[in-house]
Symmetry: C2
Subunit: 357 residues, 2 copies
Amino acid sequence: MSKKVLVLPGDGIGPEIVEQAVRVLDAVNASFDLGIEHESALVGGSAYDETGSPLPETTLDKAKAADSILLGAVGGPKWDGLDMSVRPEKGLLGLRSNLELFANLRPAILYPQLADASSLKPEIVAGLDILIVRELTGGIYFGQPRGIRTLENGEREGFNTYVYSESEIRRIAHSAFEAARQRGKRVCSIDKSNVLEVTVLWKEVMEEVAKEYPDVELSHMLVDNAAMQLVRAPKQFDVMVTGNMFGDILSDAAAMLTGSIGMLPSASLNSKGQGMYEPCHGSAPDIAGKGIANPLATILSVAMMLRYSLNAKDAADAIEAAVSNVLDQGLRTADIASEGSETVSTSQMGDAVLAAL
Amino acid sequence: MSKKVLVLPGDGIGPEIVEQAVRVLDAVNASFDLGIEHESALVGGSAYDETGSPLPETTLDKAKAADSILLGAVGGPKWDGLDMSVRPEKGLLGLRSNLELFANLRPAILYPQLADASSLKPEIVAGLDILIVRELTGGIYFGQPRGIRTLENGEREGFNTYVYSESEIRRIAHSAFEAARQRGKRVCSIDKSNVLEVTVLWKEVMEEVAKEYPDVELSHMLVDNAAMQLVRAPKQFDVMVTGNMFGDILSDAAAMLTGSIGMLPSASLNSKGQGMYEPCHGSAPDIAGKGIANPLATILSVAMMLRYSLNAKDAADAIEAAVSNVLDQGLRTADIASEGSETVSTSQMGDAVLAAL
Ligand SMILES: CC(C)[C@H](C(=O)O)[C@@H](O)C(=O)O
Ligand SMILES: CC(C)[C@H](C(=O)O)[C@@H](O)C(=O)O
């Protein structure tokens, strides 16, 4: 039975890095005989330019029919002036919500070969390995009512709604506890329960679900403290679980602790085992088209996809080993270059991973 | 004409650190002949314990009548089980909102003497001097509707409202631009305008107000990117302005970049020039009563108070110079101790500042 992968290059550096990742996918597909078929579709700004929509119906249909999705990145200043309803980001948010990809897994791992790249002292980040589990289809990103209205006194007011139901919290709690079981068996749930009622409920449901995982330890931390602790002593964390908005902020901070966000993949999963895989970094329009972007986060996203959605653990291991191997060889794209390393282009990095496979 | 200062020691280490700060206030009051009178009142958990309310009416009345307020800190695990309406934090939030202390100024400054304390590499943080201007009486902290309700299907749902009117945004924008004029003349406004409508309005009003400050440069950054940039290259910022929730998170992250949050004061101002001054750190219940807490952030809060609310710039300068002097002497409380420094207690640190004055 063949597996279908939908490839969505997107905007900015998306097409360049996805090209290399697809070469890697093709290689393991052949050598491990995985029976994967893939096709491409438009999403984001490039989809808007062609069709007037950042998420054309054909793309959504193909996404629903796929076993998994490989995404590059979306967005760029070119589309900044557009109405929010058709901005590139809406393509991404539409995929997340239509496919109910509620569980976003964002590992922040420091590769020993890249320890120097961090802005933090080596002893603070050496061996860093955190997993941020972010709720991705609820919270203030999707809450209603929302908008900008005119008040009686004539001035305008902007408003959004931060909302979570018990069942939404429960399912992301399960994702976090399951993930922790495969790792350090500790979950830290992040809230602002001293101010926000919605996170009081969040905390309560976390406690409730924790009872089903007696082997996993649950702790709680306020979001402001979590931001501090990530800077102060990030290695205290194993799995952090939080809502959509806090997760957006904290996962980016955590990724940046490594100094090599160009290395970090992510997965967004639904309850049917479908997943969308993408690098943690954005579309980097400033370097798009120059052939210097780092394709490794996207290549590692392929590995994550093979592991979580396509049941091909060996192929995933092989890709991860190949990436480690090229780092050992001293090959670096510009974003992670350091003294003594050899700076290579996007496609040269792809070549090197293929050679190491 | 005498100036009235209300002293609110609060909970945890609050009383200990405020005690030292009041000694310093008394000293400059005498030597600079400032005519300051002060009295104390209860707030937070200790107020709840005595009166059943975290913000007793007598405290609020005294606060309204005061020229400025010196606060220690509120909260602690002792009160964690209380209903949100009477938790210690409500005392703090009640003061902010009743006095309309909408402009929260949180400097993140790295003292050269404490450069080692940071978890970041010295070259990343040396000379760091950012000012975070956080809106403090609006946004999701105070937005209505809010609460936890039961849905028709029987499950519960928690909800909060993130809301800002144009006038609320406009006044905090003015605070940020005015502050930038006294500093590096650059304001970076933080939003999530690619997802949240309320921050689309925020960004628009920032642009509008910027026209009145042609000498100040305005830029915009998404909150997730801001969290990354603070970790990657914090010195790129001069003044950052943002809403209540993002400000809570980013100001704590920025403070922690210095590694010495025990050194950072803050001011919360209203449009009448009244201000509440407090350390950036919390009530640290784990070390309360041990006499080891760092009183310098509270002492520096007194300096900020003299400068911003009591028109006593010379006295403020004197306090800041005295603090710098004790650091030069190598005196450190435990939180900022390092090799070769002399570890002193809370009251010894107070003694040293008084001696240096
Ligand atoms: C592009 C944007 C809508 C998105 C988000 O905020 O979720 C991005 O920042 C991310 O984290 O994937
Ligand atoms: C204690 C709490 C309510 C408060 C806040 O969230 O504003 C604190 O974290 C702060 O930043 O002053």
